[in-house]
Symmetry: C2
Subunit: 354 residues, 2 copies
């Protein structure tokens, strides 16, 4: 199934949009590079991927993506160093997680080569689209969706795998205030919360809107049975620092196995930061805030990188986090972005040159 | 917002596919009528709906439907009686539920007129597509999805509402054997299980495939906290008859408020069938099967109508249901389809003439 592919077919765009892009004022995921990788599943197998001009997709109205939410995605970033080298961060982990998500959604798994060789070829073709300025990067969005037709509620017989890229600035702006959710839930035990499945995100929009109306930007999800334990924030995993210990919830079938989360845990060890991976109760966090032992909270994810949380809300009360001179968040963010952008050694072997 | 619309613009298809369709051998949702209703949300409002030729949809690769599963749908049927009159069954209930689903998914709600007048106009244009043979009908699929662009995980700014139709035969074929699920779950407390959201369906495909490999066609979902209580079957609500009492689970934020389910409860009352709407434990059903008091189980839904269950599996054991001469399922199916197809009086006022 996974025969090595040496050459990816490239169909070049006739004109480039790049001169119309203001690289000094990039928002997140709103402008798209000239090309995309396109790979089609039909007749029971993934066909060879191709680099093609970024172009609209045409589908039948009965295409299952419109009806049954059969889709998964990934998010990673490409960075360019001062010598114009292009770097990826743990891309094989994204590939593996994409297939884990696909399996749970009954989507056929991709051969590793199609993903890795396809991605690298795409980045070489669109290398001029990778921003170099601090805090910017080329956001990479691999996604797979059901393109096959029919109203029967069952897996499609055709799929599309696409990698599209968008030169992007930061995901959040301003101070991040989050609400610990006590009514709505993100995922069920035995559900698809661990997968990057499209439907997991749409289900968060309404509760997040309600939180936004109260002055928060994001929701911290809790378990759906008791709402007593902190899970994740949808676009990022959550870390809490109580005294000098950094704590994050264990992954489960409800919580995404974040690559940034995993990397932070490893970096923290080498920095001699005491780390605990265990259940975190809402009560514990509120108590720690009240007695002054809650030092930091931050979110961690590819889009969010490490985003410090300035305050959290719980049961109609807001709790401010202190502003630290030497925060774990700032240190860990510097360590991880230095590795990602080739500004430091990479003792973990995470960086991949394109 | 909901100004009455007297005339829906109609763009007729230049040719009809109808002569290529074998109306005597219809499967479910595989061939589509000549036209569809199309209505676009942009600039902050739903634009006027139009009847247009059934045609492909063209979207940007960053369209949010591909990434975040922001979609909802409905299912209903049109029937033609011997006098060529066209009938719908409680279509306002489908409209209301579509908007309930939309709200939970942060999709803008539709004006009632756009749905109802649009649907009726579409059916008049494609009236020849409505099958007349016993057990066949025109399956109607209203759906709304996020067509707006961008990789930010937030609601789209543009949507499409489409009604497509498919002359269809029965949803299930053969004896229906179901598995009571003990590992996977369909929905969370505080989640989107009550909505007809696309993502709810994709999440069921993999556990259903596992059940199919064991010889079952469908999964009966249980609560995600304990797996002790029966919820629904994804494509249908579940009814259990113990002795002479018909029992179904109450609706909740995890269970779809099925229109067929609701109708059956009302018909059963007029037939003097004792009905209980309460939690049903798996243990109770297994016990009732063992001691001979479990008389019937059936699924109820628009696509499934009333589908008798021949056997259920639980913890590696199969339990056969008896074959009854005078089953509630057969009686209730006759009553509801007679109303739907104008073969009987309609004391409930459910039937709507197009």
């Amino acid at each position: 199934m996974s025969a090595a592919i040496n050459n990816i077919e490239i169909q070049k765009a006739k004109t480039s949009k790049i001169s119309s892009i203001d690289f000094d004022n990039l928002s997140f995921g709103k402008v798209f590079s000239d090309h995309m990788l396109l790979c089609v599943y039909k007749d029971g197998m993934w066909q060879l991927p191709k680099v093609v001009p970024y172009q609209p997709i045409t589908l039948d109205p009965s295409s299952k993506i419109f009806h049954y939410g059969q889709s998964v995605f990934e998010g990673l970033k490409a960075y360019k160093d001062t010598d114009e080298n292009i770097w990826l961060f743990r891309p094989e982990d994204n590939f593996r997680r994409l297939n884990i998500s696909s399996k749970r959604l009954s989507i056929p798994e991709l051969p590793e080569d199609y993903f890795m060789a396809g991605l690298k070829t795409l980045l070489q073709v669109d290398r001029d689209w990778i921003p170099k300025s601090e805090g910017s990067s080329l956001y990479i969005r691999p996604f797979v969706f059901a393109s096959g037709n029919g109203f029967h509620a069952s897996p499609a017989d055709e799929y599309m795998f696409i990698i599209a890229t968008a030169p992007s600035g930061s995901y959040f702006s301003g101070k991040l205030k989050v609400l610990i959710e006590q009514t709505y839930s993100r995922s069920a035990n035995g559900g698809v919360g661990f997968a990057k499945a499209g439907g997991n995100y749409a289900g968060q929009f309404y509760p997040t809107q309600l939180a936004v109306e109260k002055g928060y930007q994001q929701v911290i999800w809790t378990d759906d049975t008791t709402h007593e334990y902190i899970e994740e924030a949808g676009a990022m995993n959550i870390f809490v620092r109580i005294n000098d210990t950094l704590i994050t919830a264990p992954i489960s079938d409800r919580i995404l196995d974040g690559i940034t989360r995993r990397s932070i845990l490893e970096i923290a060890k080498t920095e001699n930061i005491p780390v605990e991976v265990r259940k975190i109760s809402v009560k514990e966090v509120v108590e720690a805030s009240k007695n002054g032992t809650l030092k930091e909270m931050f979110g961690a994810g590819t889009a969010a990188v490490i985003s410090p949380i300035a305050a959290f809300g719980h049961e109609d009360k807001d709790y401010d986090l202190p502003t630290l001179e030497n925060s774990y968040g700032a240190l860990l963010k510097k360590r991880i972005t230095d590795i990602q952008t080739n500004k430091s050694e990479d003792p973990f072997g995470w960086r991949v040159k394109v």
